[in-house]
Every structure is written in structure tokens, then in C-alpha cells.
Symmetry: C2
Subunit: 297 residues, 2 copies
């Protein structure tokens, strides 16, 4: 069976794994990124982690999952708050030359979506939309087993798509940007404003909505906003299924069915079978980075 | 040189053409659709038109461009106001069996987009978004020389995508649907309301805006709305270029540059080279139907 090396480069940790073509993780290693020590330090750490994996030299290729917009053609980070020193550095080229293996790089949300589409709930389907709803909101279109990055590497950056241009701009995003209204922090912010008390996370907001009308109004608006966002995505690319991952999905029992119903009400009759489901893969970032290499080899 | 048969099935006319692989129309025939006489009548007419084309028997394949949402896999119309009797009928199968040639079918906006992407302004680019702004508003994503129809044939039906959910629902579309605000009829409707007089078409509204503040306000809102719509499309699929066709584009000198600027202001910095341009192919429906067959053979 073919195997692939997967790297998940995060602001806090770098993880590397050897993954087989069915998505099984055979070996995994982790180390602190220490981005403040500069790109040479991070690159060396990545190489050492890969070389510490059992049987890494037998792998057929390498896939790198990177946070933020990614230049998939040249294998470079476009912008990054957590890894500023690596912006524009030819990460994929360096890894390719160091290990003499085909190396591919894409945004971490996109590789996670690829894992879900190929091995999770999307298995056997040709047209999947994947969405993460966590601190941020971002998506990925997976067509015929390949993930779309877009011309500038920004395909799927729907967190900045406006769901209502009459609302205020928050944190430099567009007025009514999805991320400002359907993310975990947005739910907490709005619930704190409405209920005049603190919430630890989105899960507490969903709990409070069960017997506090003010929290309930916040949750109902979240459902409406998410339905508008997802309907917009469907009108552009008309997927068979939308798979959602991220911290807010811990409370999916409290909103997913309602959002699916409201989204369907916004779609044309012929599209109303489009379904929403929770993503299920346990390590989508690592498995997806391996699938990125597999999908392009 | 390879040739393809192209059919443009409209509510008023059916046109058939023989087109070479470079998009040159070698022969063209036209007849009234007479949809009220039933599907057998329309199908027979389509067959007769094709058979009347010079050298039709030498063609490598057949492409059919059809109005409205299309089941591209089974070659059927999904919904249609103008051709209700043909909904669900296996049009592509019948033509394939009759002429013993590979036959493909897609929505007319999508085939037009394919023509522009392959032979027009999009030539040599891998990631194009095509948009028509006329009585209706609809789009198409063209990736690597292939047009995306979506799982239910509704990919690109962005006329029903909401650009502002606070506005009213018009004509059964969603609240704030793009088609209700950035189409030709929408411009006329809003200008008539603002100026309290009649307008023949969108072109007159753009003319009036040059010295009537009320018409100018309508045009400015149109530009804002179109910028929001296009930015939304960019966040989903991040094209290199957006090509626009349709009646409203006769006045493109009065709005396109401003819309491009406003759209770019809504995009992330890395996406701001995304450009807007007028589509240029003369017979995009027919040339595109031929390119559909070419792209799939």
C-alpha cells in the first residue's frame, strides 16, 4: 500500500505523520513551532520531524497543510499572523529538494475538507463543500476528488463574504462578514451583549438559549445567518452535501437540523436535497495533507 | 480540423450550427421553436435542423445549450417556463441515438461562459467566472476548460443569491436576491420609482443618471449591489477574471470600472488583481455548445 508524509504546520505546533492511502496514521510526531526563532528554525524542525517518522523514506509523496491563504502553485504562504517570517518562503520547494519526493501544499481547511470528501461522509460523492465554524469561518470546494484553491489561493475564504451589508464592519472584515456573525466568538459576543453576562464559549450560548429568550434570539439569528451563507455557497457551486467541522459543531444537535431546513427554504426546489452533516474524521489536517499528495500524484 | 454540431434551444427559436474546433461557425440554420406544439414537434424540428447543416455527418460530437437548470448527467431539462413539455424528457439521449454521435447538454449560460473562457477574453486562463446580466442574472464557473454545473445542475444560479436579506422578496425569489436588484428590469423598476417616469430599458437609466440625482442614486446602489455579489462569488471560488455578458453590458462604460473598484475593496489584498471585463464572443450560445462537446471529448 502507498504511504504519504503529512505535515500540519500550525502557529503553536508542527506535526508530521506517515499516513497510508486509506487514511490510516502509521506514525506521528509533534514539536513546538517556535515561529519567533525564524524560518530557518521552523524549516529545520519540519525536516527533522519528517525524518524521525518510521519508514518515511518509503513514502510516495509529501503533503503540507498550512494555515491561511496559500499559493498552491509555488508552495508559499501568502499571508499569516502566526508565521510572518515564512510568508513568501518556498516551503514546498525546500521540502521537495531535501527529501527528493513530490511535495504539495495547501491551506489547512482545504486539506481537511479533502480528507472528509475522500474518506469521511463525502466518500463516493463528487461535489462536496466543506466548512469550518470555529474561531474563524472558512470553506473549501472539493470537486472530483480535488480541492479547489482558486487563482490567488483564496477560494473558500467565505468568512469575509457578507451575509448582510447593513451590519457593521468588525475587526477589519467586510460589513456583515460571515465570520463576524456565525463564528464561535461572534456567538459569545452577541450573547454577552444580549444577556449582560459572560459566556466561556459558544456551547454555553446554546445551553442558555434553552431557557433564556435573549440568548435564544441570538441563536435564532445565528441559524438564519448561517442558512443565508450556505445558500449563497450553494447558488455558486451547488454541492451534493455540505460537511461542517469546528468548535461550534460540538453543539450541532442544537442548530444543524434547523439550519438545514432554513437553507433548503432559500434554495430552488431542485436543490433541496442538499444536506448538512458534521465532519467525522479525527485528524482531518494530517489525513488531508496526505490525501492532498495522493490526489495530485 | 474537428467540427461539432451546436444547438441553441430557446423558447422562441431553435438554432443549429456546424462549428469548427477554433469556434468558427461554418453553417447555421434557424427555425421557430413552437413549443406549444409539444415535445415531439420540437425534437423533430431539432433533428431536421441538424440534418440540414452542410457536412453535419462529419462532426465529432453534438453540444446542446438549454435555458434554465439542466441535468447534465442525464441530459434533461429540470425546470422551464418556456419549454414545459420538454421538462424531464431525455433530449440528449434521443439526439445521441438519432445521429449516433456523442451528445452533451448544459445550461445556455454555462455553454456561453465556456465559449468566453476557451476562445474569448478568458483564453489561456484556468479559472474564470462568467456572468450574464440581462433580464435575468446567472453565472458559471469554468475550471481547467470545463464548466461546473453542480450536483443538481444549479451551480451558477446566483440570481437567487441574497445580496441583502433585509430587502423584500420579488417575484418569488429570495429576499434581496441578486436578480431582483442587479438585472435590467430591476434598474428600470427602481429608476421609475425614483424618477416617477417611465424608462424603456437599463440603458436609459444610465443615461438619466448623468444629470438626474435620483437616477444616479439608483445606479450607485446597482454598482454597490453588483460589487457585493461579485465579491461573494470571489470568496467562494476565487477566479482570475470575471467576464460579463448581457443586455445591461451595453452600458458597461457607465459602471464596470466603478464596480471593479468597489468589488476589489471588498476582497482580501491578495485577491485584488481579480478583473472584470466584457464578454466578446459574438455567438457565445452556439460556439459554447460546440465547445461543450469539444471539452468533454
Amino acid at each position: 500500500m502507498r504511504t504519504f508524509i503529512a505535515v500540519d504546520l500550525g502557529g503553536t505546533n508542527i506535526r508530521a505523520a506517515l499516513v497510508d492511502e486509506k487514511g490510516k496514521i502509521l506514525d506521528i510526531k509533534k514539536d513546538a513551532t517556535q515561529a519567533d526563532k525564524g524560518k530557518e528554525h521552523v524549516m529545520k524542525k519540519m525536516e527533522d520531524l519528517i525524518a524521525s517518522l518510521k519508514d518515511y523514506e518509503k513514502a510516495d509523496g509529501i503533503g503540507l497543510g498550512i494555515p491561511g491563504p496559500t499559493d498552491t502553485i509555488n508552495g508559499k504562504i501568502i499571508i499569516s499572523n502566526n508565521l510572518p517570517d515564512l510568508v513568501g518562503y518556498p516551503i514546498a520547494d525546500r521540502i521537495r529538494e531535501h527529501f527528493h519526493k513530490p511535495t504539495f501544499m495547501a491551506n489547512d481547511v482545504k486539506v481537511a475538507g479533502l480528507a472528509e470528501a475522500l474518506l469521511g461522509q463525502g466518500q463516493g460523492k463528487n461535489n462536496i463543500y466543506y466548512l469550518t465554524i470555529s474561531t474563524g469561518v472558512a470553506g473549501a470546494m472539493i470537486l472530483d476528488g480535488k480541492v479547489l484553491s482558486g487563482y490567488h489561493g483564496h477560494g473558500g475564504e467565505i468568512g469575509n463574504m457578507s451575509i448582510d451589508p447593513n451590519r457593521l464592519s468588525i475587526g477589519g472584515l467586510n460589513r456583515g462578514a460571515a465570520e463576524s456573525w456565525v463564528s464561535g466568538p461572534a456567538l459569545v459576543r452577541e450573547a454577552e451583549k444580549a444577556c449582560k453576562r459572560q459566556f466561556k464559549h459558544a456551547g454555553e450560548v446554546f445551553e442558555a438559549a434553552k431557557d433564556d429568550e435573549r440568548a435564544k434570539a441570538v441563536v435564532e439569528r445565528f441559524k438564519d445567518d448561517l442558512a443565508v451563507l450556505l445558500a449563497g455557497v450553494c447558488f455558486v457551486c451547488d454541492p451534493e452535501m455540505i460537511l461542517i467541522q469546528g468548535g461550534v459543531m460540538k453543539s450541532s444537535a442544537d442548530f444543524l437540523k434547523d439550519v438545514e431546513e432554513r437553507m433548503r427554504a432559500l434554495l430552488f426546489p431542485g436543490m433541496r436535497e442538499t444536506s448538512l452533516a458534521s465532519a467525522t474524521i479525527e485528524e482531518p489536517g494530517l489525513v488531508g495533507a496526505a490525501m492532498l499528495a495522493k490526489s495530485l500524484l
